[in-house]
Symmetry: C3
Amino acid sequence: MITAKSVSENLQKLRDQAPLVHNITNYVVMNNTANALLSIGASPVMAHAPEEMEAMAGIASALVINIGTLSKEWIEGMLIAGKTAQKRGIPVILDPVGAGATDFRTQTCHKIIAECRPTIIRGNASEIMALISSDVKTKGVDSTESSEKAVELAKTLAKESGAVVSISGPTDFITDGAKVLSIKNDIPLMPKVTGMGCTATTLTGAVAAVCPTSLEAAATAMAIMAVAGEMTLPLAKGPGTFQSHFLDSLYSMNENDIVKHLKL
Amino acid sequence: MITAKSVSENLQKLRDQAPLVHNITNYVVMNNTANALLSIGASPVMAHAPEEMEAMAGIASALVINIGTLSKEWIEGMLIAGKTAQKRGIPVILDPVGAGATDFRTQTCHKIIAECRPTIIRGNASEIMALISSDVKTKGVDSTESSEKAVELAKTLAKESGAVVSISGPTDFITDGAKVLSIKNDIPLMPKVTGMGCTATTLTGAVAAVCPTSLEAAATAMAIMAVAGEMTLPLAKGPGTFQSHFLDSLYSMNENDIVKHLKL
Amino acid sequence: MITAKSVSENLQKLRDQAPLVHNITNYVVMNNTANALLSIGASPVMAHAPEEMEAMAGIASALVINIGTLSKEWIEGMLIAGKTAQKRGIPVILDPVGAGATDFRTQTCHKIIAECRPTIIRGNASEIMALISSDVKTKGVDSTESSEKAVELAKTLAKESGAVVSISGPTDFITDGAKVLSIKNDIPLMPKVTGMGCTATTLTGAVAAVCPTSLEAAATAMAIMAVAGEMTLPLAKGPGTFQSHFLDSLYSMNENDIVKHLKL
């Protein structure tokens, strides 16, 4: 269960603790996700070299692995950081960007899941489905399936992997394999801005760093995205101004905004 | 020939089909070009690993190769994707960023042209000239020549390479070696925003995915850039706000905007 | 010594000469720093491949090395470019991003300092301190120390390395080991926007390209950052809109703005 009150309390905890979130992420969104972490009150670091993965994951409070612009050279760093994080007991979040578009991506996700045991997997509907069913194909990085349709496979993935699974879409669904939480704010401009999914993933890492329950952490992050989206919509005239104002919304969000906008 | 009407019809086709555009592009502009594709109505994917180039170029409707932050490791992926795209008959667009600044860039472009046979080459005046004449030097990634001066060499490049050549500048010129089309909107702030040329290239890929004639596709993309620039100018107070509003303009552009602003 | 008048004169020189600034920098900020250079009137190029480092550093007027997303593969390029720049006598600026967070970063900085002899080192307080004292730890890329506390170690670093050392913080301090200059504008939103430090570093390169005294160049760049920050604050509603308006401020900045806002 999450409520406007619990979201607000976790957000306050995040701002008080300003956790260091270590990101191994894609080139397209690094700037957006670093800014989203700073705006919400966390401290971002982007680092991927195998030589420093033990050290960096060793001082972080959460690790985010995002395969958006995957290459062989980066997988080694992801695995070292993931194992270090797992050993230290800090949350590991996986964003399987483009799983289902190429075997290279799908198989790399399976390897990360097997070796690093992520605590939360967050993706769009067809990425999540592709991790369970080889019939599902992703259109590059855009979903070809509805989040509603993905819920059952997400439960299976959660049970098999031991991770909470978080599916973004017009309605977001978050499941630990048994319970399913949903966030019902539908922000039409969001899929028109690159990196909104990746931003959701990195905020999931930030919340998980301060909130011990993965299901609650994952749902809280999606709630923060949704509230920021609602705050931003009346200010944006299109995807470009949406992007700027969205960061401002993360920065200024308070309990009133959450109570006013969150649709559970 | 292009007209406001033909530009508008191709834009509508693009929005209806939402083609997947596979980009192998530079670190500086990935976010901008992904957002430009989303804003205009296409679906972007950024991917470069040799391991997934056949698969990714195999599901795309156009391939964009941009050498802006070139390294040896990326050339292999560019060549595999380029050959896959050529075999499938989808458009291949080359942006020779910084050709003429270093031999490494100029020679890599020659290799890509020879092995992947791009359907359209889009660059600034000195980049285009440097692909034909070794006397021309580019100042990093900024042109040292006028687009007017580049037209004759662009015709030669078009004839030798078999590609349509698109030169951006205060006036844009697009040629297939015989005909020359021009777009005469001159947007002074555009060269002050990084990645505007790269954005023109990726939109060229998006239009080419839905418009079978390379000359028309290349000119249509420059027309869309020009109209978006004109729409944005009164809203921007400098290069920073120009960047945000430009995406909004791509998103909201309709036939009236094209009729009102396009200068052929 | 710097004054509003000297800052204004150096800015005018920069705009007149439009120096080419070669950046080997991190993935997170490439877009921001390229845009900052364009907005202030310089010409940016981002390039890192060992194959073209002699050529690119060979036509540039300044070289900026920033280790923000360091990997082994990039160090070779940094060293070739740094030695080429040193041989040509153009300014070399080092940004030791995350020094003190991992040994890999700290040791790479020591290697660059030893082999390329940077003319200016610009970082936050704990990064600068970590280059002299192994007791200091950086929280990822965020400082854990005050700039006031870093001044004495910065003097030592300046004397040992032969570089001017520039520390950013609520008050910026710039020292050649003997003299200490300071900029006292304190812009609270700046640490909430990623890449503001990296932007300061690249502008330091642009100013150093036209201003022969490293101490004056480094302080002038921090003054330009401070004035742009003051101009931007009343326009920004948070970190997102700050980022856009900051570029506009760099673009429009004139002598009056400098006189009005600069706090020395």
